[in-house]
Symmetry: C2
Subunit: 331 residues, 2 copies
Amino acid sequence: MANIEAVAKQAGVSVASVSRVINGAAARADTEARVRKAIAELDYQPNSAARALKVRQSEQICLSFDDLANPAYIAMTRGVGRELSATKYRLILSSAFSSVEEIVKHLQTMGRGFADGLIISPIYSDERITKLISALHMPVVLVGTQPEGLDVDNVYVDSSAGIAMAVEHLIQTGRTKIGLINGPLSTKPGVRRKAAFEKAIKAAGLKFDKASVIQANTFSPEAGYFAFSEIADFSKFDAFICANDQLAAGAMKFASENGISIPGDIAIVGIDNTDMASLLHPTLTSVDLKAEERGEIAAQLMLDRLANPDRAPKRITVEPKLVIRESTAKK
Amino acid sequence: MANIEAVAKQAGVSVASVSRVINGAAARADTEARVRKAIAELDYQPNSAARALKVRQSEQICLSFDDLANPAYIAMTRGVGRELSATKYRLILSSAFSSVEEIVKHLQTMGRGFADGLIISPIYSDERITKLISALHMPVVLVGTQPEGLDVDNVYVDSSAGIAMAVEHLIQTGRTKIGLINGPLSTKPGVRRKAAFEKAIKAAGLKFDKASVIQANTFSPEAGYFAFSEIADFSKFDAFICANDQLAAGAMKFASENGISIPGDIAIVGIDNTDMASLLHPTLTSVDLKAEERGEIAAQLMLDRLANPDRAPKRITVEPKLVIRESTAKK
DNA sequence: TTGTACGCGTTATCAG
DNA sequence: CTGATAACGCGTACAA
């Protein structure tokens, strides 16, 4: 591959001049023309490692989350990717973390400087993670609930409010025996959704029964299916909120196979409003947590901070929205 | 951030020794111990740009495809990501290409050397793309149909065979009036599926009617819905093959809303066997093109070539598999 | 086994 | 406006 020196020689100028025209500094018209010609002739591309070494910028942004199988994170990735595609920054994806240890290891490698910033949406709550993030010598934007003692750019969605909306909606459609198919309590969304559910139930004047929250092992459709299959007596319920659309889809599948009518016997509301919500049968009422929009905002925050490193951390809040479909139609 | 010199000073050795222990070269035990201690104390991480510049390797692999909204590519990404996560390589994602021009621009930037290899699954067929790929000074593995004049590592799935299996299956279940909801003919999958469909219909002894292939504008559920809505007379058909599961899901939605029974009136088979196939109602028979597996294989091919740059290009073929579900149950 | 010194390709400073 | 040259941080001959 041709380097800057070869271009300089070809154009009959110095490497400094080549560098200048590449980076848009002033140059005489004919100098620039000769350099551009040489660049074209040699098919020259500036070496990104050399550039990164010199300017201390990789032009890469790292997006990290835990589950590449979860459509909500895919949507977030889409948002980040779209926002970044118009810039000089490349997207590097770090995912499929199955344990806190893996995240810790990943976070440690960030010190190598291969990325200029980190957009992270951690599902696990762990002090080590918090500590490593705050020790990172680079901009971080955190998508999700900000842990204690961390003060970085943050995009936040009040999923609790979303769950409250879901509860209210269910009550309005005549349901009072509401259950929660929750995700694992080892995750932040798991604990938050449980707490939000209890609070929303009480706020609505219903009495909260511990037995109404059913824990799934994962956020997958299979887990939702299994959770429903473990319910001994469906007559105790007339509605379920599921911790995400995948769980909801699995639950609906079990219902369909076992003669449980939705929304006739049981109403279902999902969370995330992923693409599948409108494709299921019946279509799924779901709390839109706007993952794609959050991804876009996260990327914007990152770009903004990269351009303006000293501003105070910002928090941007996204409003959840209940998208009502057939699965909660009035009885 | 500490650099290698700081570590050397702290450990009372030379930079060369530090470099050696980092890269696993021989060193006396106590030297190594002191270096490791210094590394830990200073929280040292080797700078990846400097390393990349020196060894001419970025330790990054770029994955490029056209549509981040398509679950099949997501699955592929999952496969690549999983395979790479055990290695030193990072995954960089280039996606959301809406035009050939964008791909061309992207391919040109590959010359900057920010990636050691490119895994690409191009949906568009364009000579410029082919030319740029073959001019790339780096390993390429192509996922999909290899264009004329390109000889790189390739992972291939015979989607035509998959379509033939679908046709046969439909016939076995008593259908003879089979249509195709196809994706855009501006894409490679679009043209291939159309040709495969025609061939399979004829091979099965049915007569091929041009009107039986209906073109959708995109590979999205909305396009599938719209395609079905444009069908004037459903009595001409007793089955449809859809160019992917998303189109199938959209079509099924239209059917459900318009009193068309599946599989009673119309059988449906999708392609890709994405997660949603088993969650739809009825569950969707689908041709599994094994996107995730292809992603894994692509990554393996890449790693293998990186370790062994001079071997001849390999082609690995994956067998499609028809996964039979309710949407094609016997009449 | 260890240390010195050079070069990887760029950008930026500074003198002309 | 241009050219020579010193870094950037690392790996590795080569010499000791």
